[in-house]
């Protein structure tokens, strides 16, 4: 087995961003087919495909689409979440850079399925160089009648607006994204209501990841069943994985769902650098628990298998660490990121991440004690499940998992403490 190129099929073609290349390779055929289908049929097809949200949460896409109340008198919106900021993840960037029309076609089909006439691509501010690529592609699509009024004579109307973020990780969370898109400070909204019902400007809104939307044309063209059989029963299709860290060939690889993790590292990634031994893997971007080599060996790249070894597939940013890695440093690096990105809205995440960083600093300086480690554990308990949005949880999972799986990297840095008299 090797890569299964569905989303990435056009990446190596010359001039892959051009609409001519896209049309020559079967582009916009799915749209033509979709416009002849009913909205229910499209949603049904997506449901059949077992496509799950590629942004990280892995929520079944078809189900999410069916939550949008199409009978609502309010306008509906489609928002493409291109605020790819998860450390270790860079797949959306490639999808937009190499094949923007695939995304646009997916968006048009999705918008048609939920009855949206206006859609947005909320793109990470640092991806400024992709805005031009996307806007050029949108212009081309509009010129050929794939966007605008009366698309391909179907009376369906859609326009796409590219909107850059301003550099906050939290704006990748769908409700914070909507706040930001509305021009407000980006912090997560209270859920429920979910965006499908009350989203952008209070209207039903579907928010999907770039990779999710890019998969839609293939599902429509070749059928949900075809897509599903590419992956596992519950996780259909293929997925892009951003392989990084101590491997010989880091990069983005598209493989079938359920592909063995070690095979990705050893075959696509060319093995661990310098022939070193594997120590740890973060399989789904920085927000998921870290696993050790033994667990990595049992792990396949699908949602269920990852769960079975105590981690998550999430966004598919596979970070590989060899035996020279100090997991304390890794964790410290991550918690600094989360502290920096905490929006400050809720107590546990704002204060908790701040204290975690302070304690890590103390330990790194050599004055840490066993009590500080206990305090870190305690803080993690205090944040997990109690924060307003998943950022708090994401900050904690790498720490708790690292301390559980690699305790010696932490304990070797601290002194034993004398028992402290506990207050009654």
């Amino acid at each position: 087995m090797a890569e299964t190129k569905i989303l990435t099929a056009r990446f190596d073609l010359p001039n892959s961003t051009s609409i001519d290349t896209y049309l020559k390779t079967g582009g916009y055929q799915a749209l033509e087919k979709a416009l002849k289908m009913t909205q229910e049929e499209i949603i049904e097809e997506v449901k059949k495909s077992a496509l799950r949200g590629r942004g990280g949460a892995g929520f079944p896409t078809g189900l999410k689409w069916s939550f949008v109340p199409r009978s609502s008198p309010k306008p509906k919106y489609l928002v493409c979440n291109a605020d790819e900021s998860e450390p270790g993840t860079c797949k959306d960037r490639y999808l937009m850079e190499k094949d923007p029309h695939q995304l646009i076609e997916g968006m048009i089909i999705s918008a048609y399925a939920i009855g949206a006439n206006l859609s947005f691509i909320y793109i990470r501010g640092e991806y400024w160089y992709l805005i031009a690529v996307l806007e050029k592609a949108i212009e081309e699509a509009r010129a050929r009648g794939y966007l605008g009024k009366n698309i391909l004579g179907s009376k369906f109307e859609l326009d796409i607006i590219v909107h850059p973020g301003a550099g906050a990780y939290i704006c990748g969370e769908e409700t914070a994204l909507l706040e930001s898109l509305e021009g407000k400070r980006g912090h997560p909204r209270i859920k429920p209501p979910f965006p499908a019902v009350v989203g952008l400007y209070g209207c039903p809104t579907l928010v999907n990841n770039v990779e999710t939307l890019s998969a839609v044309p293939h599902i429509i063209l070749k059928g949900g069943d075809w897509y599903r059989q590419l992956g596992t029963e519950k996780s259909g299709g293929t997925k892009m994985f951003s392989l990084s860290g101590h491997v010989n060939r880091p990069g983005n690889y598209e493989v079938r769902m359920g592909y063995p993790l070690m095979q990705l590292i050893n075959e696509e990634g060319g093995g661990i650098r310098d022939g070193k031994k594997l120590k740890a893997v973060i399989p789904g971007g920085s927000s998921v628990p870290i696993i050790n080599a033994e667990e990595a060996a049992r792990c396949n790249l699908d949602y269920e298998s990852c769960q079975s070894v105590g981690t998550m597939l999430a966004s598919g940013g596979v970070i590989v660490m060899d035996e020279t890695t100090d997991i304390f440093e890794t964790t410290f690096n991550l918690i600094k990121f989360y502290k920096h990105e905490s929006c400050g809205w809720c107590t546990p995440c704002r204060e908790g991440t701040d204290w975690l960083v302070k304690l890590f600093k103390k330990i790194k300086s050599g004055s840490g004690t066993q009590a500080d480690l206990e305090l870190i554990e305690r803080l993690c308990v205090n944040i997990e499940g109690r924060s307003h949005c998943p950022l708090g949880e994401a900050a904690v999972l790498p720490i708790t998992s690292a301390m559980k799986r690699f305790p010696e990297d932490f304990t070797k840095r601290v002194r034993k403490t004398l028992p402290v008299l506990q207050p009654a």
Binding site: I190, C343, T347, R350, E351, K358, K362, A371, H388
Partner: protein, 741 residues
């Protein structure tokens, strides 16, 4: 109606309307759920995470401040898991919170202290330095200590939602987040009404009032609930005093007509009671100079002079009160003039003759609580945001919470017109009678009225349609509506009332007791009497008014024509400086009494301070004078007994007593409502004269009303409030110098 659902909290079966917030259901049923960011009537935040509870079938602990109750919900608020989570939050909040409670003004009234006390030891034993940040002075009135801040955002929400000012926001991110105005790091200051509501709702000592900081511990201060003496809304407030000194005004947890709302004048405008400038002894003019004398000498002098002048002609003595006096003082003053001096020249100085309104009233006055529930509001003039802030707040509330339709007719672009009005007819100054006439007259004359008011006929038609579409109509009448127009405005409701339409009024008079002093018999005839000074009138007893400051030279000249001018006031005002005798009076904080607010509610003024003992309440000075003059007018020895007389003599006040006021706080007086059918033609002909006065050469006043144009104006009282004087004096000077207002 909303259906009722059954939920189970800690084993207790509760019933509640579906969709109500879980925390509200719990709190109402005596189940305590700690919280910081929850606040009644404000949008939920789910930020502080103190109100976490366990709800069955939910994967995580849920914030009870955002969960709406649903049938069959099973909630645990007291398990070890829940308590542990709360302790955890307290631990995190306390982590960076400075434990400077011994010098914190909130110490003892702090919600964080209370929660820590309730939950016992929190486990935090951080051996790392707390984050330290410096304190910010957000405005001359408001100080902010970010380190004490628990980031509950109550302040931001009251500013956004209740005040509609939007001066505060979240600045920076994560642990560095602070609240403040945009540009806080560049030294920008709060651009707001300075109402201090943010300070009031702050659960901890993060936001504090500059004027009262470091002056008293909460428990070291005596707090007296009393009625504000600035505008006619009559807000209740808690006056904090220590020894003989003013400390602060607070409104937390008050349940009066204003709840916790106060404006800048309510919250910061009372410190003049402890001003150094307060008069402490009577003054008598000797050799052209006012010198301090004892009470006996002053009273004897005034009594003798009044007696002599009155003996020649009883009407040569005039008595003028002020719309700031208590009902008791006004009643004593009127009785003294009518029954004692037997002069017909008594009353008060007022710009709007509200007697014409009350004499022709055809619908009841709405209380502020009723305004909140209004369905359609028709405002003819008035800028309550600047002059009657509580009325503005309840109007905003009606629009925000109930979606009330606000139809506004105003010659100025007021804030409510810009922000809340569904329909705003921007009219020519003085054209209110034309709009009123257009609403009464047949459609064929619409074009003429439209031209008079400088609006489009279509706008007048739409306004008329919206009024006739209403079910419950509130008519708000601003102070620019005067004379015959005011009379017609009062009679207007008779045309609108029907079985399917309820109509109520709200007026916006300028002073705290404009309505009450009128009821007590002080007619608004001051300006008329002024023309008789020096001719028919030789002596004037002036209580609590400062017309020279207010109206300038015309009054100064008129007063100088008098043989005898007696002024009773708090300060050596511009007017008092002209007097022959000045009596020092007690401030509202040093006496008992009542005020009647704009909606006719009687509320108590409670004595909070002893005073120096050398000042007297107005009614007591009258008593002393009458006694010295040998006049009998039914003098009483206490405010309570004067009020008993009021209740028996003035029909609207019958049945009201201090006893009832203590229990009921605010009692609305019953106004006589005319039930005679009105004819449109009669109203139109009454308006004719006023319409003729409209100055057609005037263009529209397009300048928006600036924030603070009324609120920040320094008057006799507010110019003696140090913090306000310092904040606004410089501004006024700049404005005067540049001519830009």
């Amino acid at each position: 109606m909303t259906e009722t659902v059954k939920i189970k909290v800690d084993g207790r079966e509760l019933e509640a309307p579906k969709g109500k917030l879980l925390i509200e259901v719990c709190l109402e049923n005596g189940i305590d759920i700690p919280n910081f960011c929850y606040y009644p009537d404000l949008t939920p935040q789910a930020a502080c995470r103190m109100c976490l509870v366990r709800i069955e079938r939910m994967p995580k602990l849920a914030t009870s401040c955002t969960v709406q109750v649903q049938d069959g919900m099973v909630v645990t608020t007291q398990s070890e898991e829940v308590l542990e989570a709360r302790k955890g939050m307290l631990d995190l909040i306390l982590g960076n919170h400075p434990l400077d409670c011994p010098i914190c003004d909130k110490g003892g009234q702090c919600e964080l202290q209370d929660q820590v006390f309730a939950h016992g030891t929190v486990y935090g034993r951080y051996e790392v330095k707390k984050n330290d940040t410096r304190e910010w002075r957000l405005s001359p009135f408001i100080a902010y200590d970010p380190q004490r801040c628990v980031r509950c955002y109550r302040c931001i929400r009251v500013c956004d939602e209740v005040m509609d000012v939007h001066a505060l926001g979240r600045i920076f991110r994560g642990a560095k987040e602070v609240i403040g105005p945009y540009g806080i790091d560049k030294g920008y200051s709060l651009d707001c009404e300075q109402c201090g509501y943010c300070v009031e709702v702050c659960p901890v000592g993060a936001l504090l009032s500059v004027d009262s900081r470091f002056r008293s511990r909460p428990w070291d201060m005596r707090e007296t609930i009393t009625t504000c003496q600035h505008c006619a809304d009559g807000c209740q407030m808690r006056l904090g005093t220590r020894g003989s000194q003013y400390v602060r005004v607070a409104s937390k947890d008050l349940k009066g007509i204003n709840g916790e709302f106060l404006c800048i004048k309510g919250r910061y405008g009372s410190s003049y009671i402890s001003s150094e400038e307060r008069l402490d002894n009577p003054y008598l003019r000797k050799d052209g100079k006012l010198v301090e004398v004892g009470w006996e000498e002053a009273i004897k002098y005034v009594a003798a002079r009044l007696k002599a002048i009155s003996a020649e002609d009883r009407d040569a003595v005039a008595v003028l009160g002020s719309p700031r006096l208590t009902n008791e003082a006004a009643f004593a003053l009127a009785s003294f003039a009518r029954k004692g001096l037997k002069t017909s020249n008594y009353g008060q100085i007022a710009d709007v003759d509200l007697t014409r309104f009350f004499a022709n009233l055809t619908a009841p006055l709405a209380t502020h609580a009723e305004v909140k529930k209004a369905e359609t509001i028709f405002m003819l003039g008035g800028d309550p945001t600047e002059n009657n802030p509580l009325s503005a707040m309840v109007i905003r509330y009606a629009v925000r919470k109930n979606g009330a339709r606000l139809l506004m007719v105003n010659s100025r672009r007021t804030k409510i017109a810009r922000r809340q009005a569904e329909m705003f007819l921007h009219i020519r100054r003085g054209a209110e009678p034309a709009v009123l006439a257009a609403l009464i007259d047949s459609d064929e004359n619409a074009a003429r009225y439209a031209e008079l008011a400088k609006v489009k006929p279509e706008q007048l038609r739409r306004l008329g349609k919206a009024i006739s579409d209403s079910k419950r109509l509130l008519v708000v009448i601003g102070p620019e509506v005067n004379g015959a127009t005011l009379e017609v405005a009062a009679r207007f409701a008779a045309l609108l009332k029907s079985d399917s339409r309820e109509v109520k009024y709200l007026i916006l008079p300028p002073y705290n007791n404009s309505v009450g002093t009128l009821d007590m018999g002080l007619r608004p005839n001051g300006h008329e009497l002024k023309s008789l000074f020096g001719t028919k009138i030789k002596a004037l007893y002036l209580a609590g008014s400062n017309p020279v400051e207010q109206y300038g030279n015309s009054w100064k000249e008129a007063l100088s024509k008098l043989d005898l001018l007696v002024v009773a006031d708090l300060f050596m005002t511009e007017t008092a400086q002209l007097a022959d005798v000045v009596f020092p009076v007690n401030s509202f904080a040093e006496l008992d009494g009542t005020y009647t607010n704009a909606v006719g509610q009687v509320q108590r003024v409670n004595r909070a301070l002893e005073g120096t003992g050398r000042t007297r309440p107005d009614w007591m000075i009258i008593n002393m004078l009458a006694k010295e003059m040998g006049l009998e007018f039914g003098a009483r020895g206490s405010a309570a007994s004067i009020f008993r007389d009021i209740a028996s003599e003035i029909p609207a006040y019958s049945g009201i007593s201090y006893d009832r006021l203590r229990k009921e706080w605010a009692i609305q007086t019953e106004r006589k409502i005319s039930t005679t059918a009105e004819q449109p033609d009669a109203l139109l002909s009454a308006l004719k004269g006023e319409i003729a006065k409209i100055d057609l050469s005037l263009d529209l006043d397009r300048e928006p009303v600036r924030q603070g144009s009324g609120l920040f104006r320094l008057g006799t009282l507010t110019s003696r409030v140090a913090v306000m004087r310092e904040a606004f004096k410089a501004k006024e000077q700049v404005e005067e110098a540049t001519g830009v207002r």
